[in-house]
Symmetry: C2
Subunit: 718 residues, 2 copies
């Protein structure tokens, strides 16, 4: 499947689109565009003030809904009837699942899943269509609520990150295309460059609110998105995260009757580990658990690809997609009832972690421990597995629960619903981690099994997502104990190494399956013998500094390129086999040309004089520019010219044709570029390097071998 | 003093050195060189394993020394004699101060102060002479111990950061020039690029050990040093910080009789705030405290410059420098005794924060509260001010103590000793913060005054150092309460804004006084009308691809430049007014040329054949290359040539002569460059831009006005 490629002899043609088999990892979609980060700097305003008080929208407390359900439910279990509660639960779960999946399938598919892979790509510089829209936000928020109500195994944390990004990006723009509203304010933020920074902030704020982890949020946004470290931006992101967390908390404290009390207390989602300690001899156990997490995580990612292929092939109609969600939902409910009924794990009342103990097949004065695991929010289940005393759950209860958790998470992640893998992953790991803890507890009764549960949770999620720094800190913040920093690092690192040996992370798998041209952190190894010459796309479509309108329109219609070098012919040098030399003068973007055409900024007596156009004119249309097809021009206009030199970027970054791939890659990555112009020895434009030219060299680390493969281009888009 | 400069009309000559008045901020020293970061990537090994178990060297528990002192001391106070203990204290403090200052003045002046400004410059890319040496480390470590023994107002935290950097850099090199030892291992790390990464890690590990703040350490090293965010490096830095903290802790736990117990407990230097809360109405008070911190911090920096000038003028002999330290030491001891004796603040025993209550002028059953503040380590004093009950100290005690703390810190920071400003700054702020707390406590007796003390400490240190993200997290980690994240951010941000209105931070002040060419985060504003044309140094000294040895030697002797473009004359183009065109082929460093000359890598039958030289040969001499004067060559050698094209960097980053300053600046900063070659329209080498060309445009933000000044060059070096 993988093979090394000979860098010297690859295909140089520009028409590289091929048919790519379903579920292939080795392709790049030609449908994704880059963002235009490269701008002359603008002063950033502090964004934090504009971000207050929105992120808790998602975290609605729906326990009241559930209570109604239990009222009916408890009633019935006392009489030992099973069919009625089962049917009630089924219906109550299916209705929200149906609503949520229909919204995603029919209204906005971009709101599907956790959204983290897409946000990661956006931060990497890819224009992901419809990712940052109000409609997507609305569907996402409603979707998350339906997921929780529908009892599906999806976390709300990923969606909160996505939602945070949208809110931050949306507020920063001061307008909504969906509602056709333009507040007119904040229009200086209408640039890709600014929007990316806001999205970083929103991501961090999402984590801060979801896990109560502002530092973890900051580091997540750096780990997944950053390229150039910027002190001011980082500080703003951190401040935003803090505000986000404290806003959430002050709302909660007002809700609980202590308005104005800003103290952060009790927001540790996974419960505080107060008095746990570990010994140096625990370290090998943590490493072992990291290995288990890495192996099961890699399997998870592998099976996810198979499921993806299956779905592409068979679940290809919208109604089938909705149906799958309903099947997942029914299966979840059914298995949970079967497990609760047939796994008799009755414990004395008093140990129960929930507010409403469920008797369900147990004697009076007892509760059903399996039911206690089930009938909480996933977050609560994680908390139970971390903190409940060793006696609460039988070993078989945890085994059944763990196996079920693993597979239902796998199945659920990828159906058309709006939920993430973070909490389900933690839950699965917490289950088998607790099992490890119980085993050790069996031999050393002084053991506190909570820490093994925590390490298991971290290992499992680490194996699936390969998050390292940020996950360590998120878990430290969410459990309030820096004590476990080192053990968490050790198990997460092990999980990452083991997992990477077999597969990519779940997020990177998703990104590859969708063909998004993500740029890695580092250039491919051993590639310094590839030069710009080989890498670049050529010939390049260029414009002259004074270009005719007709030619611009014709070119824009013919080519879909987004950046065009602007050149000047110098007549002095008209020697050398009769060639005219064309020197690079700048770079102009398609979007700029569109605006110029729309506003008729032509050189001529009857058209707009050039200085009626300002930076404002360009910002107004951002981010959805007209298509060239929609612009209507008179026949006379086509004969006029535009002076591009006034609007182009006058000093784009250039490289010489002898520059090596690693250096071009680093330049591209560090400066957040979209185009690099390649010049030849005599400074003529020789070619252009874009994201896709760099992203197509994919490094594959598999089973300890490193190879580089060249991706194929396809026009499909997931 | 400050004025805007006209960018178009500045001095283009290369001989710009001028006489710069003492204590002038507007100069750049020509003595500092850049580091050579720009290398083709090498695989980094994990450094963490090589860093275990060294950092606690500094944190020697010298309480036993002090105990001997108190035994004698307590004895005497009971008999109410004052002269004897005073004299004993004086002598016991003066001896270590004398030793420490002599070491710094006569052995290694680079070990002076906290070392943070110099480390910051190193991470910024400046080759700071003697900063990263074993001798400096030795003097620093002994220096810190003498500071603590001598009772001087200096923190051990800054020096620990510096020490951490040296250890990390030293271990990574596997050799010591001081001891003339080369282990032969790890020589692939012998590049500036690698060394910088290790220094980042060492810095973070220093903070982790000093404050028990691994995340704070990571963020400090990013805030002060990073330019390009690198995920793998960050993860390694974080891991190193964790290991550092846990190593320290496991040593401490073994020392306290619990070997193997790795649990992090009780390492919160400033004591854990458990049950504090704050109200939304406290926020304006925190802002006010931030303003106070900013104002007093700015005054601190201003007075520091005046002291610097005074010292340059009058304390210009080595013996005077030592004498100043002794005077500072005596003054500290004397004032402390005067305050203890004449400020009668006797409290009932039981409230005392120290282990050995000092009666000193109080009745039996009482202790002297002022003495309790004094006779602890500074860290302990901070802890007392944070946590002791409101009754322990009288208002006057705190006022006297606070005023004294401020001025003695000011005086002490800058004398020739090895201590930093972090803890003294916190201590000063904790004092006046407690005063604010007492005032509020007077009206609202439910107030816990600890939080005001903490906010005061943060504001004061923030006003002096202008640290933001990292200081927030360090204090959160050192007090164990994320509750105070937001208040700390608010006061630190206010302190920074207010402080920046009047002056630079203490570290930047020190850097400016020394003339080190630090590159700021961002290019100067409104400078996009400055082009490479104006910025670059020209004409450029170049070499041909095949260059004669004689010419290389002559050039190296004549010019002190560190990088030379390598060009090739192309005869085909010999037209255009008879000029020969010279195309850029690469860039070669002075150090590379020196190695080539030393190893006689010449083209000729009798000299070394070129492939006997490998990357090893270049690494062997790192980092101290011979001077060109020390290389002896035969007369015949001078007639030979070297084929530079085999050794040069074949694709240096280039910019066109029309590139604007902001873009060049960003490129330079993001890629960590030392040289950028500027080419003209026809791709000939037009000039070269180095760090000094960029650093000389200094942005001055003073009293709300922004101006740009052009720095002068001087050859003095602080």
């Amino acid at each position: 499947m993988y093979q090394s490629i000979d860098f010297k002899g690859y295909d140089l043609s520009n028409e590289r689109e091929e048919i790519v088999p379903i579920g292939s990892l080795n392709h790049l979609s030609t449908k994704y565009e880059s963002l235009d980060y490269e701008v002359i700097e603008n002063e950033l305003y502090r964004k934090e003030e504009q971000k207050k008080g929105y992120r808790y929208v998602v975290q609605k407390d729906f326990s009241r809904w559930m209570t109604f359900f239990w009222i009916d439910f408890d009633d019935c279990t006392e009489n030992d009837c099973m069919v009625k509660p089962y049917l009630v639960a089924l219906v109550l779960n299916l209705i929200p699942s149906l609503i949520g999946s229909c919204l995603i399938v029919y209204v906005e598919p971009m709101a599907k899943g956790s959204g983290i892979p897409a946000v990661k790509c956006f931060l990497n510089g890819i224009k992901v269509p419809r990712l940052i829209r109000l409609k997507t936000l609305a569907v996402k928020v409603i979707g998350v609520i339906t997921v929780a109500l529908g009892g599906l195994w999806g976390g709300k944390e990923g969606p909160m990150i996505h939602a945070g990004s949208i809110v931050a990006a949306g507020i920063s723009q001061g307008k909504s295309t969906t509602f056709n509203k333009d507040l007119g304010a904040l229009n200086f933020f209408r640039e890709d460059h600014e929007k990316r920074d806001f999205v970083s902030g929103g991501t961090a704020a999402g984590i801060a609110a979801a896990f109560g982890a502002p530092v973890g949020g900051l580091l997540f946004s750096l780990e997944e998105g950053a390229s150039f470290w910027n002190q001011a931006l980082t500080w703003r992101i951190f401040f935003g995260s803090m505000i986000s967390m404290f806003t959430l908390h002050s709302v909660l404290s007002a809700y609980h009757g202590h308005p104005g009390d800003l103290t952060y207390k009790g927001l540790l989602n996974f419960g505080k580990f107060d008095d746990l300690s570990y010994h140096i001899l625990d370290i090998p156990i943590f490493v072992l658990m990291g290995i288990i997490g890495g192996l099961t995580g890699a399997l998870f990612c592998h099976l996810n690809i198979q499921l993806f292929k299956f779905r592409k092939r068979y679940i290809n109609k919208n109604w089938k997609k909705v149906l799958e969600v309903l099947i997942v939902c029914s299966t979840t409910v059914t298995i949970s009832f079967v497990l609760i009924l047939f796994n008799t794990d009755c414990k004395k009342l008093g140990l129960d972690p929930t507010d409403h103990p469920i008797q369900f097949g147990c004697n009076d004065g007892e509760f059903n421990a399996m039911a206690a695991l089930w009938f909480q929010l996933l977050e609560g289940t994680v908390r139970s597995l971390f903190h409940d005393t060793p006696d609460v759950f039988n070993t078989t209860t945890i085994i059944y629960f763990g196996i079920f958790a693993y597979f239902i998470t796998l199945w659920t992640y990828g159906v058309h619903f709006s939920g993430g893998v973070l909490i389900p992953g933690l839950c699965t790991g917490a289950a088998w981690g607790r099992l490890v803890g119980r085993t050790i507890f069996h031999f050393f009764p002084n053991t506190n099994i909570g820490i093994y549960s925590l390490i298991g949770a971290a290992s499992q999620l680490g194996g699936i997502t390969r998050m390292t720094i940020s996950l360590t800190i998120i878990l430290v913040e969410a459990t309030g104990s820096i004590t476990f920093g080192l053990p968490l690092m050790i198990c997460l690192m092990t999980a990452k190494w083991v997992g990477d040996f077999f597969s990519e992370s779940i997020y990177d798998t998703q990104i590859e399956l969708s063909g998004m041209p993500l740029l890695a952190w580092d250039p491919p190894p051993l590639s310094s013998n590839i030069y710009a010459d080989n890498l670049m796309t050529h010939p390049v479509i260029t414009f002259k500094t004074k270009e005719s309108v007709g030619n611009i329109v014709k070119t824009l219609k013919k080519y879909s390129h987004n950046g065009f070098p602007v050149i000047e012919y110098i007549q002095n040098y008209e020697l050398d086999e009769g060639k005219t030399k064309c020197y690079l003068r700048g770079l102009i973007l398609r979007s700029q040309l569109i605006v110029l055409l729309e506003n008729k900024v032509f050189d001529g007596p009857l058209t707009n004089y050039w200085d009626s156009i300002t930076m404002e004119t360009f910002r107004e249309d951002y981010p959805r520019y007209s298509s060239i097809e929609d612009i209507e021009l008179l026949q006379n206009d086509l004969k006029l010219t535009i002076d591009l030199s006034r609007f182009m970027n006058p000093s784009p970054y250039i490289v010489q044709h002898t520059m090596s791939l690693p250096r071009i890659f680093k330049l591209f990555r560090a400066m957040g570029l979209r185009h690099i112009v390649v010049v030849n020895d005599s400074n003529e434009v020789a070619g252009i390097v874009t994201r896709k030219d760099l992203a197509r060299y994919k490094v594959i680390r598999h089973m300890g071998k490193i190879s580089v493969t060249e991706l194929k281009f396809s026009s499909k888009m997931e």
